[in-house]
Structures are given as structure tokens and as C-alpha cells.
Symmetry: C3
Subunit: 391 residues, 3 copies
């Protein structure tokens, strides 16, 4: 049984209008991925497989577990004309929309859409996911081309992120259904997909309660005649559960030479404000509310050259023919973290350029123009350049 | 020279009566192991080999070094009729008893015996270990079956755990002797082993000394007429060395279809209590004592199916024949952390079930019933399910 | 395309006169290195390659990214008679002198020269490096022997160390030129190299400003009649940029049976002292100055045996012939961290012995005699033994 090894790494350069972001080379990123087979079913392809991977992340850039899951093919996996169904158990990606689910090497921009990070949709989580499809269409002219009319995923996860045990007794649930155009490879509609996604969970909002005790003592050098001296300060944590829901819709057309992706996401998260107590009296009470947020992203891209984005990883890796692709693109990315608050909507316009100069290697140039309702001091344009390579 | 790569990973699900333990999927674990040869002796097999491995651990689940050692075969290693003797230098397992020494993939239960963790016996340490055997018995009917009548290990280690320099100038010493039934493979007594282990070390017990200085000042808003204000608090660390000793005996019978393991361990550790000083006067003095602890574990298991636990890793990995084994078991695990204290003995009864459904993959189900002298609030039964797979 | 995997690990034993350093086995070290090709140019060898590696470091010994860079051969790399030129982008070694640039497995001593660590020359950094050579001399009797008369490197890096974004908007620049004796392999002068290096950068010196506010209150139990009670302490950080420059010269003769290396380095670093403010008045003002430092290292070694240090990694790894080399050496290593301060120059004399007993494995013994102007309590001799092995 063979063990497959792969991964991707990046090297970045940043120039920003923001004085807090220093112009310079960015920290490297590294994802390693191992996969293999544990039980092979030669008749039906009902295999048991595993994937595990590590990435270098966190503020200290240490290596941690990224993926660690088992998969089992519930339905036969070796007949391309029949539907597939897999179950995945362990730490893995959540399936929600396009932006959050795309793996690192397929994201067109250097930074992901704002909502994926703000709504924790791109984080790994621990749980069980069922993914399958229905009504596959096969183009026998392109022997490997198979597109299911419907693809679906449903999952149950802790909801507390990667490498953490659950922080409450509730499980979070997500589901996604995508409708693909069931057409031949050369059809104009190939690559057209409409998807809807939902995520229903529970989050514990926390806030700090600060209790301060003071005494007044006479001041030896007045004025003032007395002075307040703090004798004790205690911080306790308040917490209250609330709904953590996300709803999204996406439409994408990934074809050549022109394609686009459009995605809309709405989020709900519980929020609790700080409480202050002075000498036993609540001076600032804590309040609870549900924060509604909204994100939308549209990307338009143009490909030219001998190689297409979607298939570059499957190409034979041993030849000496290196097709190149040039991919200019435009993106609009809006996120409003709190629909009830003014002045917090952030719009990012990106003018970008990807140059695939080797089968698994690209140079990415992004110029981000920041706009929206946010204060002018936060409207800092930036230029990013990145080499990304897979191995 | 080839480099061998392997490892094991787990995916877990936890349900507990304990309100502090949230029902959910557990964090993944991952061990990676690399091994290879540095110097090959074709004549006598006096090879120099190395092993290094990493695991994801700690509270932040980062990857750290687990094993890192060189080995040298002092005696010839290619004549199965002669005794073997190896020396190991570096970070490695300590050899003490059965439970603490068994590698992750051979432990029948999801959680190890209480004493292995409480007495730090399952931790890696850094040092030098000699392991050998005497009077090997060979069953020529089973060409690879070799059982030595006596197996022994003796080691000297820092005693401060993995990835740490020594915390004192003393070295810790351990030794183990095991007597195996020197019989043929098909003999009823095959798999019977009696072992004794000892560990003699020094540990530095530490405690905090808190010195507080206060002044009395008049209160501007009496009563009381004066109030004490703390002007200075200093924490210093007290330390005192003491013996860290462990003694153990074990009896095991690993055969088919029925087997058992029995292990008894006694521990001694130094302990120091906190000291408090107020305005120069000791209000709570620090005291030193040696804490005696005791653990006992008994596991009874039954195997059926086409594959046996002990040999599943050596099976050929390329075939398409997947034997399965079902292994129900019962375990009793008692640990008393302080024989001089009442109400601290904890008994765990485990009803368990292991299903090996692929050569290196098992599903483990454990139901733990917690009993003993501990307070009722700590008697929280739990159900654990875990996939464990090697690669 | 193949992925190459290698690395090195160590296992150490320490005995020191310093009571703070405990006698015992040291923590293991581990470097892993992966390298491969992304784009192959069969005609001119203008390949795109990558290297990434991890090491276990930091106070918690977790695995972090060490190297992560892309390389491109700007000039043809398959004609040994022509000059070479490579560009490297990403996290990598800085090229400065001999001691700091040598990779872990070629350093003769267990501890590096004092100045490499004190002046941060051995740290990885993130940036872009051009390395090339001129006037190559080829000895056709030894088909692979190629020595360029001039080798040069020039680099631009963040200057803030590995796995960190830049901490200022300035880039640091370094350059090195080395002159090699362009002679045949069997020439007496083979291995003679004269090099000069420079590093010009900017560092932000920081210091703490501590502001304390006190009030005097009457003491209820005089004397004294009043007592000062601190009501507020605030720490802020002062910072000031200054030049971080290093200049170095080196002369080396790496031949058999006798060789030596000599290196001199001078450093300049900005320094800021702490400031104290009490009730609004500066009681201790902060001062800024440029600290000049100086290091010199001389190593004399003697090789005998069938294998030479420089080439042991290239030897075929599959044979059963294990040449051994014995390498006794003497080293003098002086570092003065502040030329304007008295009593801080530290001299280390090392008597060492390296035994290469397998192609990639050596046992190192170092006895360090500490001398110089430092206080007697810091003159702690130490003995180090280390196994180092590559794989």
C-alpha cells in the first residue's frame, strides 16, 4: 500500500499604506498532506482511506495538525455512471459555499474573502461528514469527465475549530446542495454551478465582569483631602449561549477563456458586552444580542495560455513540456460585520494577475483597493506578491 | 539505505457524565516515526540504526520530537539461536512494566492505566538504555518464532521527561527483568511472561513562598477606623530534593482465544506544601514528606477472528485479504495517589470492544464505570469511541 | 519529479562547571529537509527548484519552518566551464563568512562560534539572495571537481529573523565575495579561500519607560508618620532606530591532512537604556548609543582515515564499505560584546575530537576551557559529547 505525500508552500512580499504593516517579505506558509489506503475493496471500490496533514500556523508559526480523517466509500466508487457517497470522520474542512471550501492552491486571490475568516467558515473542525452526488453525466469523448447533476454534503461537527475539544454539549450541523450543468465537456455551459449552503450551530458568547473594591483614605499632602485606593480587583467571566447560523448562496461558471464566481453569505452570532462593578454596585451592565453580518464576493477572471487552472494538478508530472497560463482577474469583496452598526462595512476591490509558470507553481500579484463605510484611517491600499508552489 | 516511515493517528468521540467534559469529537492525535540504518554490518548484524519520531501534543497540539535515538547491536543480531543485546542512546521510552512500555497501537484501552500517567512512567525520557535477552528458544516449525527465556533492560536517564534538559545533577536508573515461557509456538503456555521492574530516581519538589507586606492607614470613611493596605507581595520558590522510586510486578498471558495482563505498581514521590509569610512572620510553614502511591490493573480479553492483535503489523501489506478480529475485554484499573490520605482511591471498570477491520485499523469502544473512595461528584462514567489507524 | 528527503539529528551529553547547567543528556535536535524541482529546463539547466525544511526549536522544542525558498538558475547550470548564477526567494540562510553560513552537519564544534549567535548571523531570514561565481577552474582528472576563482553573494532581507514579518520598513542588505585558489584537485593550494563579507541594516532598539504615581497617606501605626502608597504603575515602550552593521574577513584552508579556518567579525548595534518616571519627573533618563562588538575564531584540524569531512555526504550510500575518519582539532574563539565596556570579553579554547564512524554519522567530543575578562564565576569549563547523524 502506497502512502501519498504532497503539500504546498508560499513566499510572499507585502507593501501596504497601513503604517502598522511593514513593507517586506511575509512569513512563509507550509501545508503538508499525507494520504493512503487502509482497506481496499477490489470489487466495488468501497475503500477505507485516510488523510492527515499539518500546517505551520498560529502566532508562533509552529507545525500543528490540519487534517486528520478516515473516509469510507459507502456506495461503489469504481463505476462512474453511478452516484457516489462517502463518509468522512475526523478533523477536516467544513463544506459551505465556494470561497471557504476551496483548498489553498485553488484560491485565485492571496487573501480569502473577508467573510470566510470573519465567520470562521475556512477553519477546520472535528466531526462526521457525508458527501455524495446524484445523476452523474459522463462525456465518453473525454474518458475521465464526470459531472453529477446534484452534489450534496451534510455534516455534524463540534463547532469549536481545529485541535480543540468541544466547548459546549451542542453539535453544529451544516448542509450544502449544488446543482451542476450536466453537460458534455465541450458544452458552453460546462462549469456552471448553483449552490445553497446552511450552517446551524450554537456559540457561547463571553465577556469579562470586573469587580473593583476601593477605600477612601486621608491624603497626607492635600488637596484632595481624601484619596481612593483600590484594595481589590477581580475579573470573572460571564457567558451566554446563542445561535451561530450562516446561510449562503453561490453561482459559479468556471470555463475557458472567461469565468466568474459569485457568493453571498449571511451570519448570526451571539454577543455579550463587558460588565463593571464598583464596591458592589453594577456601574456598567452586560447586555446580550444577536449580531447579524453579511458578505458578498464576485470574481471575474480571464484565462489564456495552454493550461487551465482546474486541471493543472492532474497533469503528468514527468514530462518536459511546461504549459503556461496567464490569468488576470477582478474581484469585489464586501463584508459588513454588524448590520445594526454604522460605519463598519468594508469593501475590497482587487486587481489581480496569476501566472502559472510551472505545473504546480504560480506567481500571484494582487493590488487591493480598500473602500466602504470604515474610517478613512483604515482605508489602506496594499500590494501583495506571492509565489505559491505545490509538490 | 532505505528510510522507513510509519505512524499512527486517532479520531475520537467522547460522552461523559462529567459536566466539565463536553460531549463531542475529541482532538486528533498523530505520531510519525522515521527509522533507518547508518552503518550496516553484513557479517554479524552489529548495525547502527536510528529512530526519530514526532507527535502532536501539549495543550496547543503542536508537533514536537517524541523519539530520537541511535541504536547499536552489541552482540550479533543475525543468529536467532544466540542472545541479543542492544544499546539505545537518546530520547526514548523507559522500560518499566507492561502498560507504560506498550506502544500506542498495542494498548487495548483508549485511556492508559491511571498509574502510567500519574507516575510519569509513559513519558519519554533522555538517556542510555541496554536491552538484551538470554537463552532464546526457537520453534523451527514457525521459522520466525523466537522467545528468550529471560529478557532484561537497564537504563540511565535524566528523569525530567521529554524535550527537557536535566533539572538536577542526579541521574535516574531503571531496570526490568522478564521471564518468558520458553516453549513452542503451539504450546498452551506460549505468551506467558512474569516481569519485575524498578525505577530509582530523585525529584525536586517545589512550592511557593508568598511574602506579603501590609500597612495600616486611617480610613477616611470609618468604620473601621483603620484599614490594611497591601504594599508588596513577593512569590519565591522553595525546593527540596527527595526520592522518586517505583516498583512493579506484572504477569501476562497473551494467547488465543483468551489472554490477560495483571500489573501492580508502587510509587514514592517527594512533596512540599506552600508557605505564607505576613509582615515577616511565617503564618503557614512549608512541610516536606514522601507520598506513597499504589496502582493495580487487570485486563481479561477474548479474541476471535482470523487475525491476532500481536502480529497484525507484520502481515504483508499488499494483499487484498483483510482478516478481521473481534476483541471484547474487561478491565479493572485502581489507583491510590496517596496511601496516607483517605477518599482518594479511584477505581475504573472498563467494558471494551476492539474491532480490527483492516490490517492496521481498529474501532475501539470503551465504557468506563468510575468508582472507589473519591467524592461522588468525581464518579463520572464515560463512553469513548475511537478509530485508530497505523500507516 | 522526485522529492528528496533528508535531515540531521543530534543526541548530546553535557558536563559543566556551571552549577546552573545540570549534568545530563541534552535535548535532542532535529532538522528535516525536503527539496524538489518545479520546472526543469533540459537544454540549459535553468531550473526552478524548491527547498523547505523544519527544525525543532524554541524553548518548547516545537517543530517550526526553518527553510522555505524557491531557486532559479539564471545562467545555464549544466556547463561546468561557465559561471553559475542563482536567485533564491524565501526564508533561507544569510551568506556571511564561514562559521554562520556552514550548515549544521559541517560545523566542527558542537557549539558555534560565539559571534554567530550574538550577532544573529546564524539565524534564517526572509528575502531574496543572488549567488554566483566567476572564472571556474575544472580539473578534468577529477571529473566533478570545479572551483570558481571568485564566488559572490548579495542579498536583501527583512532583517527580523525567521518566521516573522518585518518589524520596520527598512530592508537589510548583505554581500560576500570569496576568492578561491583556482588549482587542480591534487594541488597543495586546493581548498584555500579568502573571503570578505558585509551586512548593512537597521534595527529598532527598545527600552521600557516605567511611570509610577504615588500618594502619601498617614500611617495608622507610626513611625513613619506618613507612608507612600503606589496608586498607578504604567510601562510603555521607547524605541529608536539605529544601524545594525557587520563586517567580516575570513581565510580558510580545507585540505588533507591539515587545515584551518580563521574568521574576524566586527558588529555595530543600537542600544537604548531604561527610563524611570516618578510622579511626572524623569528620575532615570533613557540614553541611546551604538554598541561596537568584535569576534575572532581560529580552528586548526588534522584529518586521518579514509574519508574526508567535506565529501562524506556525497559518497554512495548503498555499499558495505564504511571508511572512518578521525579528526582532532583545536579552536580559539573570542568575543567582546561591547568594546567600550571592560570585563566582558570571553575566550573559549576548545580541544575537540570528531570520529566519523559511518558515512553520515559522527561522535563529537569537545572540552571547552573558558577564559578572558569575564568574572571568575562565569569561567565554567564544560565537556560536551554528541552523536550527530544525517539521513
Amino acid at each position: 500500500r502506497s502512502l501519498k505525500f504532497g503539500g504546498s508552500a508560499t513566499t510572499k512580499f507585502v507593501v501596504s499604506d497601513d503604517p502598522a504593516v511593514k513593507e517586506g517579505f511575509g512569513t512563509p506558509s507550509l501545508n503538508l498532506k499525507f494520504s493512503g489506503n487502509l482497506r481496499k475493496d477490489y470489487e466495488d471500490g468501497k475503500n477505507v482511506d485516510y488523510v492527515f496533514g499539518t500546517n505551520a500556523g498560529g502566532s508562533d508559526l509552529t507545525l500543528r495538525i490540519q487534517d486528520a480523517y478516515l473516509s469510507y466509500s459507502i456506495l461503489p466508487s469504481n463505476d462512474v455512471t453511478k452516484p457516489y457517497l462517502y463518509v468522512y470522520v475526523g478533523q477536516q474542512k467544513k463544506i459551505f459555499g465556494l470561497e471557504a471550501t476551496a483548498s489553498e492552491e485553488y484560491k485565485p486571490t492571496i487573501n480569502g474573502a473577508q467573510f470566510t475568516k470573519a465567520l470562521s467558515l475556512d477553519e477546520r473542525d472535528i466531526g462526521l461528514v457525508l458527501s455524495g452526488d446524484l445523476f452523474p453525466h459522463n462525456d465518453y469523448g473525454f474518458s475521465k469527465y464526470r459531472v453529477p447533476a446534484i452534489a450534496y454534503s451534510i455534516g455534524v461537527v463540534n463547532g469549536s475549530g481545529p485541535n480543540k475539544a468541544d466547548d459546549n454539549d451542542n453539535k453544529d450541523v451544516f448542509a450544502r446542495v449544488a446543482f451542476n450543468a450536466p453537460v458534455d465537456y465541450n458544452d458552453f455551459l460546462r462549469g456552471l454551478t448553483l449552490g445553497v449552503s446552511g450552517y446551524w450551530g450554537v456559540k457561547t458568547a463571553t465577556a469579562t465582569r470586573t469587580s473593583t473594591t476601593t477605600v477612601n483614605v486621608p491624603n497626607a499632602t492635600p488637596p484632595p483631602a481624601t484619596i481612593s485606593v483600590t484594595t481589590n480587583t477581580t475579573d470573572t467571566t460571564l457567558s451566554q449561549k446563542g445561535d451561530k447560523n450562516r446561510y449562503g448562496g453561490d453561482l459559479s461558471y468556471v470555463n475557458t477563456p472567461v469565468g466568474f464566481t459569485l457568493e453571498y453569505v449571511r451570519g448570526e452570532d451571539p454577543s455579550l458586552s463587558k460588565e463593571k462593578i464598583k464596591n458592589g454596585t453594577i456601574t456598567t451592565p452586560s447586555t446580550f444580542r444577536s449580531v447579524k453580518s453579511e458578505g458578498i464576493t464576485f470574481t471575474l477572471f480571464y484565462n489564456f495560455g495552454e493550461q487551465f487552472q482546474k486541471s493543472y494538478k492532474e497533469q503528468t508530472r514527468y514530462g518536459d513540456w511546461y504549459p503556461q497560463t496567464i490569468q488576470p482577474f477582478l474581484r469585489f469583496d464586501r463584508f459588513d460585520p454588524d448590520l445594526d452598526a454604522e460605519d463598519d462595512r468594508k469593501d475590497i476591490y482587487t486587481i489581480g494577475f496569476n501566472w502559472f509558470f510551472a505545473p504546480t507553481t504560480k506567481l500571484q500579484l494582487n493590488y487591493n483597493i480598500v473602500s466602504g463605510q470604515i474610517p478613512k484611517a483604515q482605508k489602506n491600499n496594499e500590494f501583495l506578491a506571492q509565489f505559491q508552489y505545490g509538490f
